[in-house]
């Protein structure tokens, strides 16, 4: 062990670089937290006097509020319909995730394992569809979803739009991963008399957990982070998603950075919790271990 260690390069330059990146990563987040707990609506951390000295200027960049207050959070729920907007976002995003992962994993499995007429065209069509500019899709999509199907300001309409937006990336991602899973497992299962569905759900999907995690996360985030389509399809105020609602606070003439920061923290927490929860599936060597064992 010690002999092996000596071959490796020393770790401290790596730590130095990582710490720098951690600082860059965290600063904007600490800034948001500072503004959220400032109790005010200004985007400055501290009000500078006209003849600001170095100490004042340092104070203005240290991400800690002058007066800690939770008033922004309280009035977000007391005075604004923010809770309803969060609920809307949660429903739409969860439905998108379930539907998206199911559709993408089945399609990706077929593209990875079977050779069938139309396979190549299907795969290419997923890739090509990623190049369709969103703006070009929005006008016709609006006509179909809202005018033809009558699904304006409804969960179903938005979930459908989000799911088909997420599918191409998910299919490609999962196909790439399925390709790396050796077929020996499935072949031996087939010999043991397992059905095709059993092989997929019992063997392949569990092995592909890291890819499923990335895919699910991606689907959820696509839905949770989306602003423009939500603003287009959700016309009624009680059907706004969190992004559309948050946009109210700093869009137009209102510059309520306090509400925005507090709302942003609340809107960002579920996605981060989910992310951390799925972290454990991103572990190494699942496939290798399974084949070796």
């Amino acid at each position: 062990m010690s002999r092996q260690r000596s071959e490796e390069m020393p770790h401290w330059p790596l730590h130095l670089f990582l710490l720098l990146m951690v600082g860059i990563t965290l600063y904007p987040l600490l800034w948001v937290i500072t503004i959220a707990f400032s109790g005010g609506q200004s985007l400055a951390i501290a009000n500078l006097p006209a003849d600001a000295g170095l100490a004042d200027r340092l104070r203005a960049v240290v991400p800690w509020p002058e007066h800690v207050s939770t008033s922004n959070f309280r009035s977000l729920f007391a005075d604004q319909p923010f809770a309803r907007w969060l609920l809307n976002s949660a429903v739409v995003s969860a439905a998108t995730t379930v539907l998206g992962v199911f559709l993408a994993s089945t399609a990706a499995y077929a593209f990875s394992r079977f050779r069938f007429p139309g396979r190549r065209a299907g795969l290419m069509s997923f890739l090509v569809s990623q190049m369709f500019p969103g703006v070009l899709m929005m006008i016709p999509l609006y006509i179909i979803i809202v005018q033809w199907l009558g699904l304006g300001s409804s969960y179903i309409g938005l979930v459908l739009v989000y799911t088909v937006t997420a599918i191409p990336f998910c299919v490609w991602m999962m196909k790439g991963y399925f390709d790396t899973i050796p077929r020996e497992l499935e072949e031996s299962a087939l010999i043991d008399g397992a059905s095709q569905a059993m092989i997929f759900f019992r063997i392949v999907l569990p092995l592909a957990k890291p890819a499923v995690a990335v895919t699910a996360l991606f689907s959820f985030m696509t839905a949770w982070n989306e602003y423009i389509q939500a603003a287009t399809f959700m016309n009624k105020e009680e059907m706004y998603t969190a992004p559309v609602g948050l946009r109210f606070f700093v869009g137009g003439f209102s510059q309520q950075w306090g509400y925005f920061a507090a709302g942003s923290i609340i809107a960002a927490i579920p996605i981060m919790v989910l992310f951390m929860f799925l972290q454990k599936y991103l572990v190494s060597g699942l496939t290798a271990g399974a084949v070796k064992g």
């Binding site: 800034w31 077929a110 290419m124 979803i145 990335v214």
Partner: protein, 713 residues
């Protein structure tokens, strides 16, 4: 190809082909009949409502016109305005009032000596009230005049008591006024277009169907050639009557008879393929033709029936309105013109019903003939499709496809759900968007049929032919930031810098985090994933705040270092730096996660084996790490390029294209064209160009990388 034990039966195949093809043909015919029946009903309801509205409009125009003159104060006002004759083709400058020439006015004064009311608008109110009393199917009537923004008359239940007409319109009722002004603009525009030899383009009567089946209709109120107001009626809810199903017996017969005949013929013809094909084709065409004749007869009878009902409605309206006019209007009132009441949205009479309320046989004949022509074209297309289907099934194509479907049923079952969604909600809208790019659709005309808006490739020529990115002025070079090629150039620079930064930083961090035995590894990973976990629109807005010139922390840092604060969004380069920083911050995590996932799926024993063989770290990286990363990294990089190219949120929310559109990328530019300037057609063309650029890149990328191989195998 065929299974040796069981040769395919041509007879059976052609019989099946004929049955399917005929089913398609007769089914489509039946569907067309049902659809045109439903459309007829809706059209009749709308046309009857327009007739009612037209009758009311004419009544108001008749009773009000002569009465306006004797009213003292207003008369003076009018006389002053008369200096500007408004009878010209385009009174578009807002002086719509005062349409009467002085001579006309005097004549009207003589004629209308017995004005029923001293107050202007009173005759209108009287006429509206009596008209409403005669029409229980009209829920409310509102009359707006532009002069003074007045609600002249109303029978709406909301307009009682405090809000009773006449009164000035409220702020909330601005859309009513705007609707009137839109119709006026349409009248003027159409008049100009027609004078220039064109055909009218904008609706002069607005018809909106409500969810309950009622209509809201608006028509311009004219006086002496100028539009002075709006007449709006709201009809009572009209329960949507289910159109009776068209006779299905002929369809069934047209389907069964040829099939039965072919079955009998098959006994005689045996397995001779050419003869079977010929017989099946003849029978198919005969069956379809027979059905078309029956359907044509049904259609013509329906057309006559609809026309009769319309004529009856017009007659009833004429009698009612004449009665009201006799009671309210001037004694020598000219007869009404009911033949103009049945008119299209450009207020051009259809001419189907004469002044006496009888049907114009010629017009009706032309309509029936047009129906027949449409039916013939439809049957022609359907027959062609059915024949193709017949050949497909008869000559064994269907059998091959069917065999494939059965043989690869597992694969298709896995892919079908995703593909159906993609086709309905991605590919179909995409092609619809492409179609829009050949039109001049905008927010005001997007409900019209595509063919009316068709402009060919004009939009594309507009976008691509303007190459004047830079022009020389005495003050130096001036860039046209809204030029397509500037935006494209900026977009390319933006994409390359971002992807290079994102991939190198992400890969570097992944390799470091994959180092065995590195302390605090999970902690670093959690923190470094955060930018990806934060919604991008939030990050963008946060960075926008941090780059604020006065209060932003970036400038505070600069001042600590003794530098001057920078107005980040006032210069193209500093603005670019701001958006680049933002996007760099939020994009490296994704690449890091993808690389890390791939690194961790590399079996450790590969490295162990390499070490045993004495491979150096660099050799291990080249021969094991990079090739193993490729399957995950190549699609991720391709997608990352496309995403960055279309990175809407960062540009739109951080710089907003400032300064003057210099940092606009193609997609934000297209968005602004569509949703800030409402030029849907032009924006669709712009988006189509973006798509073609990305497609070209995709094909190039696909060839350059080994992706093709990976798919093909």
């Amino acid at each position: 190809m065929a299974a040796p034990s069981h040769p395919p039966s041509h007879r059976r195949r052609f019989l099946a082909g004929l049955a399917v093809a005929l089913l398609l043909g007769t089914g489509a015919g039946l569907a067309l009949l049902t659809a045109s029946r439903t459309a007829d009903r809706q059209q009749l309801a709308a046309r009857e409502a327009v007739v009612t509205l037209s009758a009311l409009t004419e009544l108001i125009e008749r009773v009000e016109a002569p009465a306006a003159a004797p009213a003292g104060g207003l008369g003076d006002e009018l006389a002053g305005l008369d200096a500007a004759p408004a009878e010209e083709a385009a009174p578009a400058d807002g002086e719509e009032e005062g349409g009467m020439g002085l001579g006309d006015e005097l004549a009207a004064l003589d004629a209308g000596a017995e004005a029923p009311a001293a107050e202007p608008g009173a005759p209108t109110r009287e006429a509206v009230a009596r008209f409403a009393a005669e029409h229980p199917e009209v829920r409310s009537i509102r009359v707006v005049t532009f002069e003074g923004i007045r609600l002249e008359a109303s029978t709406d239940s909301a307009d009682t008591g405090e809000k009773a007409a006449p009164r000035r319109l409220d702020r909330e009722e601005k859309d009513l006024y705007d609707q009137g002004q839109r119709l006026r603009a349409a009248v003027d525009e159409n008049r100009e277009t027609v004078a220039a030899g064109g055909s009218p383009v904008s609706d002069e009567i607005s018809v909106q169907e409500q969810e309950d089946g009622g209509f809201v209709l608006g028509a311009p109120l004219e006086r002496e050639g100028g539009v002075v107001g709006l007449v709006q009626i709201r009809t009572a809810p009209n329960p949507v009557v289910q159109a009776p199903t068209p006779p299905w017996l002929p369809a069934l017969l047209a389907w069964l008879a040829p099939v039965a005949v072919l079955a009998l013929l098959g006994l005689a013809l045996g397995e001779r393929r050419a003869l079977l094909a010929g017989a099946a084709l003849v029978l198919l065409l005969a069956g379809l033709a027979g059905y078309a004749v029956t359907a044509g007869g049904v259609r013509a009878a329906e057309r006559r029936d609809t026309a009769d009902r319309l004529a009856a409605h017009i007659t009833a309206e004429r009698e009612t309105t004449a009665k009201l006019l006799a009671a309210l209007g001037p004694a020598d009132a000219k007869p009404l013109r009911p033949e103009t009441w049945d008119r299209n949205s450009y207020r051009a009479p259809f001419g189907l019903v004469t002044a006496e309320g009888t049907l114009d046989a010629g017009k009706l004949g032309a309509l029936v003939e047009a129906d027949a022509g449409r039916l013939r074209r439809f049957v022609g297309v359907i027959a062609l499709l059915a024949a193709i289907l017949l050949a497909f099934v008869g000559f064994g194509g269907a059998a091959t496809v069917g065999r494939n479907l059965v043989r690869y049923r597992v694969a298709y079952a896995y892919t079908v759900p995703a593909m159906v969604g993609m086709i309905l909600l991605v590919f179909f809208p995409f092609f619809y968007g492409i179609t829009l790019s050949f039109t001049n659709a905008n927010i005001y005309n997007s409900n019209k049929p595509i063919v009316d808006l068709w402009v060919g490739v004009d939009n594309f020529i507009d976008i691509l032919s303007d190459v004047a990115v830079v022009r020389s002025t005495p003050d130096g070079w001036v860039f046209n930031y809204n030029n397509f090629y500037w935006t494209l150039g900026f977009n390319v620079v933006w994409t390359i810098t971002n992807v290079v930064i994102g991939v190198s930083l992400g890969l570097l961090l992944a390799l470091i985090l994959n180092t065995k035995g590195l302390a605090f590894r999970p902690l670093y990973r959690v923190v470094l994933i955060l930018p990806w976990a934060v919604p991008s629109y939030i990050s963008a807005l946060v960075f926008q705040g941090m780059f604020h010139q006065q209060f932003g922390v970036v400038n505070q840092f600069r001042q600590i270092a003794g530098l001057d604060p920078v107005a980040w969004f006032d210069g193209p380069f500093t603005s670019f730096l701001a958006v680049l920083t933002t996007n760099g911050w939020l994009s490296f995590s994704f690449m890091m996660v993808v690389s890390l996932g791939a690194l961790q799926s590399i079996p450790a024993d590969l490295y162990e084996a390499a070490k045993v063989d004495g491979a150096s770290r660099w050799q291990q990286f080249r021969s094991i790490t990079l090739p193993s990363l490729k399957p995950a990294l190549v699609p991720a990089v391709i997608l990352s390029v496309i995403w960055t190219f279309n990175q809407f949120n960062v540009i739109f929310l951080v710089s907003g294209g400032q300064p003057a559109g210099a940092t606009e990328i193609l997609i934000t530019q297209a968005y602004k064209l569509a949703f800030e300037q409402y030029r849907y057609g032009y924006a669709a063309a712009y988006s189509t160009v973006i798509f073609l650029i990305l497609l070209a890149y995709g094909l190039f990328q696909n060839r350059a990388s080994q992706a093709t191989e990976a798919i093909g195998e």
